[in-house]
């Protein structure tokens, strides 16, 4: 649970993400998605409750876990004056990546950023920045990957490319991925489980297919709207029960 000056931002949120699965936090603005991710990362301390990642208590042993996880978000940036290679080099050292030159070269190849390596991060387009941020997030081969709106402000082609790459990474490594998104198509395609958040609480959960069936809708976007607008009861469930 997290309270800010008497206002509850996240309450009674409890979930797990298994290895090799992708779980989405879905919800409108202010639903508590970013707050939840920040608590998982230890950037934000919960007012009460516990956070366990890879079997460790994040409140007590955060630095044991951080080398094994990573994060990407459009709300944080990399230094604009540094080149792509310099940024990745700095983070490779921060994460203690072994054979870091090889790892950077491998990611540059796979994420198609090799031609950008000498360019300053600030000179890149939004799509290019996203791919570089993703490279930073994958440098240490994280076992847990937290992504806040991974395809925000990307054109459909780049967004599709990023989604495909994330699925490949998960399948190859068995990593657990938690993502917060507003993009329903993305969630339907990528995620095994969806946690629907509203006003700081998880109000429903299930696979995309289960949720669509439960609400009697055609797609996840319609489910989202039902929940957001309270169309079928307090959290949109009545019609389905």
């Amino acid at each position: 649970m997290k309270r800010f000056d008497g206002v509850t931002a996240v309450d009674a949120v409890s979930f797990g993400v298994s290895a090799g699965s992708t779980v989405a936090l879905l919800g409108g603005n202010g639903a508590g998605k970013t707050t939840t991710i920040s608590m998982l990362l230890g950037l934000l301390l919960p007012s009460s409750g516990s956070v366990r990642v890879l079997g460790e208590d994040m409140l007590r042993h955060r630095y044991r876990v951080l080398p094994r996880m990573n994060f990407s978000s459009p709300y944080v940036d990399l230094p604009h004056r540094l080149t792509v290679r310099q940024n990745l080099t700095v983070y490779a050292h921060l994460y203690g990546v072994p054979h870091w030159r090889d790892r950077i070269a491998e990611l540059a190849e796979r994420l198609a950023i090799a031609p950008l390596m000498r360019r300053s991060f600030g000179s890149l387009s939004a799509g290019q920045k996203t791919r570089v941020a993703l490279a930073k997030a994958l440098l240490n081969r994280p076992e847990v990957l937290l992504l806040d709106e991974p395809t925000a402000s990307l054109d459909p082609d780049t967004a599709d490319w990023v989604r495909r790459y994330l699925a490949e990474y998960r399948d190859e490594t068995g990593a657990a991925i938690l993502l917060a998104s507003h993009n329903m198509a993305e969630v339907e395609r990528l995620c095994d489980e969806v946690l629907m958040m509203k006003q700081g609480r998880i109000v429903d959960r299930g696979s995309p297919r289960e949720l669509i069936a439960r609400y009697g809708r055609q797609n996840l976007e319609e489910v989202f709207l039902d929940i957001a607008r309270d169309r079928n009861g307090p959290f949109g469930r009545e019609a389905a029960q």
Partner: protein, 266 residues
């Protein structure tokens, strides 16, 4: 992964050096103000040398004071700027979800402060030799003691300033530029502590800088190295660094409680 990692500290120093070397105007700016100050005060010294019996006792007393004051100012600014660069870049969120510990970040900022200070002050000190036939290096080993103490004090103030910036965001950014100047009048840079009103003398004596500048005058005017002043300066610095570290870490903890680490930036 439990201890302090030199590799992570090195990574952060590398990050700041990349920025520094990417822009020659930045490098030039580091040396520009100390050099201009030295030139102006050099001419004032030359004028006072023939018109003031006090300056005539030791030609370098004002020039040394100017150069050493810049060590304090640049030391503090060099520390704070490294932190501000992360805020301007909106990079704090990425940094603090990496295994980088706050203490490692602090050690990296101290290293960069040292590098920036040397780059800034060394040209001014070297230029004074041909311009005014005065070398601050003639102070010998005491110069090292003065330099280290002023740098330590700069770091202590830098820690407090960055702690406040963490807590109050970019609204407190300007503290990095002017906080140290609040201490200038009571640091006895250009005049002895005895020139201050008595109640202010107590304030001055609570600052390491006043002991350093008194020690500098003692070496230049009386040709005596006062180890008592050095000891007091060191002890005071250790005290203020501890206070600065507590403030920084407390505000870092508060930033984690309030979710400020993801919000800070332009």
């Amino acid at each position: 992964m439990t201890g302090i990692s030199p590799r992570r500290i090195g990574a952060m120093v590398l990050r700041y050096l990349y920025v520094l070397r990417s822009s020659w105007p930045r490098l030039l700016e580091l040396a520009y103000w100390p050099t201009m100050q030295m030139i102006i005060w050099g001419f004032i010294t030359e004028f006072l040398y023939t018109n003031s019996s006090w300056v005539a006792q030791a030609f370098g007393v004002l020039l040394s004071a100017v150069i050493l004051w810049d060590v304090l100012f640049r030391g503090q600014l060099g520390f704070s700027l490294s932190f501000l660069e992360e805020m301007w870049a909106r990079n704090l969120g990425n940094l603090f979800v990496s295994p980088l510990r706050p203490i490692e970040h602090i050690l990296a900022m101290m290293t960069m402060s040292l590098i920036r200070t040397v780059i800034g002050v060394a040209p001014a000190a070297l230029l004074a030799i041909p311009l005014y036939h005065y070398s601050i290096f003639d102070l010998g080993l005491p110069l090292l003691a003065f330099f280290v103490n002023l740098l330590l004090m700069g770091w202590a103030v830098g820690l407090m300033v960055t702690g406040l910036v963490l807590r109050y965001g970019m609204g407190a950014e300007n503290l990095a530029w002017f906080a140290i100047f609040a201490l200038a009048p009571v640091s006895a840079v250009y005049y002895p502590v005895s020139a201050l009103p008595e109640w202010l003398q107590w304030v001055a004596l609570a600052l390491p800088s006043a002991h350093v500048f008194e020690g500098m005058r003692s070496v230049l005017v009386d040709h005596v190295f006062r180890s008592d002043l050095l000891t007091t300066a060191v002890l005071l610095n250790l005290f203020y660094i501890a206070i600065g570290a507590i403030i920084y870490l407390r505000f870092f903890d508060l930033a984690r409680r309030r979710g400020l680490l993801l919000q800070v930036g332009e």
